[in-house]
């Protein structure tokens, strides 16, 4: 079992996300005395009689003033079984881009709903974003179950509606779990509640500790974006020329046949170096330096790839973008695209369709994409990029769209044929009763 689980939270404003995260930290005793003192003091200042656990995570002045979460915050906690990196993302509509940020690296997402309100538009939108970004597993925390008198029927209706929705987005039923919780009181977060005897599943923490982490794509084809060329030119290493980078997919072994893209040069991996010594092999996620048999001119931005299974570089990207900027996207826009370690000029040729998260359908040929909208685009790049499908690999199938003028990150880009959730010809499943 993997020792580390990366997860994200999502949900609407006032569903109690910050309280849930505060509760997880508090009940796993990951909050230290001085942090709790600070929260207790601040709660008393606000006239509260019990510590407001959301103050543990709402770290910004304006967040505490407004009682909402504005920006994604990263939290760290550990149990004897596992370490967790939690991206606590805001639910406010104008901050959906932070949900995209949190979800891009997560292996699991916890979506919150208020048991009194059930599945709402924002829940559907968040689930669609999580599906789009390929987050492998979902947990629906049906929060404030204490405010519906721990009613089994209420929970069952919400759980069914959500599971149906998630299934229609492409999730297998086994990758979705609903749990009745009260973040405020602590029911079923870390400790099992005796007020929900009808619930037989795990507590939230049990589930997080035991759920399989998504496997790294070790069996995928080898991909290695060159970050930096290491040339010491010192008396000790006069001719050393190493290609530094992090294995983005697959595994590389000494003696492997590789091809350098986009030039298409073929050679062999002679050595895999690290500061701690030479390795026989390196798998996805590991930072190494490769020495190759031939002395080619290779630089930052090139991709060293398995010779037997290399992508075909293309200057025509069919992709999905999640638009993250207030400045709308229109066809004809000139932008920069960053894929791996290469940044190239690009031109948005066409907005093919826009996804309607509420109706779970697509709208053809929209005039523009606005903040937080998701759509299909065709992008022409000034130089060919060796991309993979996002559905096959999150690392080599993703890219950033960047404003060439001010450098702002405009969009999250996902390469390839539309995911099932966005396909216009898919069977639209009614999202529930």
């Amino acid at each position: 079992m993997s020792s580390l689980l990366r997860l994200a939270t999502a949900g609407s404003v006032d569903d109690g996300k910050s309280t849930l995260v505060g509760r997880l930290l508090y009940d796993t005793k990951s909050v230290l005395a001085d942090q709790l003192d600070a929260v207790t003091r601040a709660s008393v200042d606000r006239g509260l009689s019990t510590p407001d656990l959301s103050l543990l995570v709402d770290g910004l002045r304006s967040e505490r003033e407004q009682g909402i979460t504005i920006d994604v915050a990263y939290r760290y906690f550990a149990t004897p079984k596992r370490s967790f990196v939690l991206a606590d993302t805001p639910g406010h509509v104008q901050y959906t881009r932070n949900t995209v940020t949190g979800a891009s690296t997560s292996q699991l997402a916890i979506l919150l709903v208020d048991a009194r309100k059930g599945v709402i538009e924002q829940t559907r939108r968040h689930a669609a974003v999580l599906a789009l970004l390929g987050v492998p597993r979902l947990v629906l925390a049906v929060n404030k179950i204490d405010l519906v008198d721990y009613d089994e029927e209420t929970f069952a209706v919400i759980a069914k509606e959500f599971t149906d929705h998630a299934t229609s987005l492409g999730y297998a039923p086994g990758s979705v779990l609903s749990i009745p919780v009260s973040a405020l009181v602590g029911d079923n977060v870390v400790d099992r509640s005796d007020r929900t005897p009808w619930y037989e599943g795990p507590t939230l923490l049990d589930h997080l500790e035991n759920v399989p982490a998504a496997p790294d794509p070790h069996d995928a084809a080898f991909r290695f974006p060159v970050q930096y060329v290491i040339r010491p030119r010192t008396p000790e290493y006069p001719d050393y020329r190493g290609y530094a980078g992090q294995v983005a997919a697959g595994t590389v072994r000494r003696g492997d046949q590789v091809v350098v893209l986009p030039a298409g040069l073929r050679t062999t991996v002679e050595r895999i170096d690290t500061a701690d010594g030479v390795l026989d092999e390196a798998a996805a996620g590991v930072s190494v330096t490769l020495l190759l048999a031939d002395d080619f001119d290779i630089s930052r931005g090139d991709v060293i790839s398995a010779a037997a299974d290399a992508p075909v570089p293309t200057d025509e990207l069919a992709a999905t973008v999640a638009w993250l900027s207030e400045k709308p996207l229109k066809a004809g826009a000139r932008v920069l695209v960053k894929h791996g370690t290469r940044t190239v000029q690009a031109f948005v040729e066409e907005l093919s369709s826009r996804f309607d998260e509420q109706k779970l359908s697509t709208v053809d040929a929209p005039g523009s994409l606005e903040l937080n909208e998701i759509g299909q685009v065709r992008i022409r790049t000034a130089e060919p990029l060796p991309v993979d499908d996002y559905a096959v690999n999150r690392r080599t199938g993703s890219f950033l769209v960047i404003d060439a003028g001010d450098g702002a990150t405009l969009a999250a880009g996902l390469v390839g044929a539309p995911l099932p959730v966005l396909r216009a010809d898919r069977d639209v499943v009614s999202p529930g009763p």
Partner: protein, 307 residues
């Protein structure tokens, strides 16, 4: 449930290896994308770790950046000696911005409370401007403080060095966006995802040498604002502040006027790890007076251009 216990298994080793690979990746991204990066280096444990990772990232070539230390003039002698020794050993270039120089020529005024920690911001920003640094590495970790938990790994600062939490760029996958306009710079935090326990476990694993004051030693200290402060040019002890001879160590190392020692017998890395895991106080809560100034002290300083 004891939760701060990091299991001594392959799992913990894997976790450190993943954090190391991530930090090395970040160093190399900056080397590839920026013209004039610099590493903030104080000789404290986080910046020493930062330098250790930088050396690994570019081995066998030298680290392609200089170091910058903003020296408040209130530093511990042991730490300054350690700083100079490390620079010498690795053949690095060190730039020192002395806060005293800014006070002497009137660009800064000494504060009534004598603390110089908040005075570091202007010398830092002036030096960044003077050297046209476009990327500045810092050892900040998101587990340190609530406002830091909001910080991106690549954090764009405007021409005044200011952080605007509402205008942060989304940070997606491991694709870092380092674009910036002239005058702007990017703060880079390779240790963002490390916790204090990770830092100490890694220091143990890699045998990273630290200034001696991180380990238990005898020291004459006096009590102020609930902390054990040491004698020094920052003014103390004052009348009524009784000096005691105690066995102490430091959990963080910063300006002597606001960095307190903790009573401790932890004389080795393993002792320190055991102590950190058992502590019910965060390192900043235990020993940093500057974070106690207000509920949003760290955020306010970051907005002004501090780390």
């Amino acid at each position: 449930m004891t939760t701060l216990e990091i299991p001594a298994t392959d799992a913990a080793t894997d976790n450190l290896a993943a954090l190391e690979s991530e930090a090395i990746h970040i160093f190399r991204e900056v080397a590839g994308e920026f013209d004039r990066p610099v590493i903030l280096f104080s000789g404290g444990k986080d910046s020493t770790l930062l330098l250790h990772l930088a050396i690994k990232a570019f081995w066998p070539a030298p680290v392609p950046f200089p170091l910058l230390h903003v020296d408040t003039g209130h530093n511990f002698d042991e730490v300054i000696a350690f700083r100079d020794q490390v620079v010498e050993k690795h053949g690095l270039r060190l730039i020192v911005a002395n806060v005293q120089d800014w006070i002497d020529d009137g660009r800064l005024a000494e504060r009534p409370d004598g603390t110089r920690n908040p005075l570091q911001t202007q010398p830092l920003l002036d030096t960044i401007t003077e050297h046209k640094f476009d990327a500045v590495f810092g050892g900040g970790r998101r587990d340190e403080e609530r406002a830091r938990a909001k910080e991106r790994i690549f954090s764009l600062r405007n021409a005044f060095g200011q952080w605007d939490p509402r205008r942060q760029r989304p940070e997606l996958w491991n694709l870092y966006n380092g674009r910036h306009r002239p005058g702007e710079h990017v703060r880079v935090f390779p240790l963002s995802n490390w916790t204090e326990a990770d830092v100490w476990n890694y220091i143990a694993r890699e045998n990273v040498e630290l200034p001696s004051i991180y380990y238990a030693h005898r020291r004459k200290v006096y009590r102020r604002d609930g902390m054990w402060l040491t004698e020094g040019p920052w003014g103390g002890p004052r009348d009524g502040e009784e000096v005691k001879d105690l066995t102490v160590r430091y959990r963080t190392v910063g300006d002597g006027s606001c960095t307190g020692a903790v009573e401790s017998d932890a004389g080795t890395v393993q002792d320190v790890i055991a102590e950190v895991l058992a502590s019910r106080l965060t390192e900043r809560g235990a020993t940093r007076a500057d974070d106690r100034l207000s509920e949003a002290a760290m955020e306010d300083r970051k907005r002004e251009g501090y780390f």
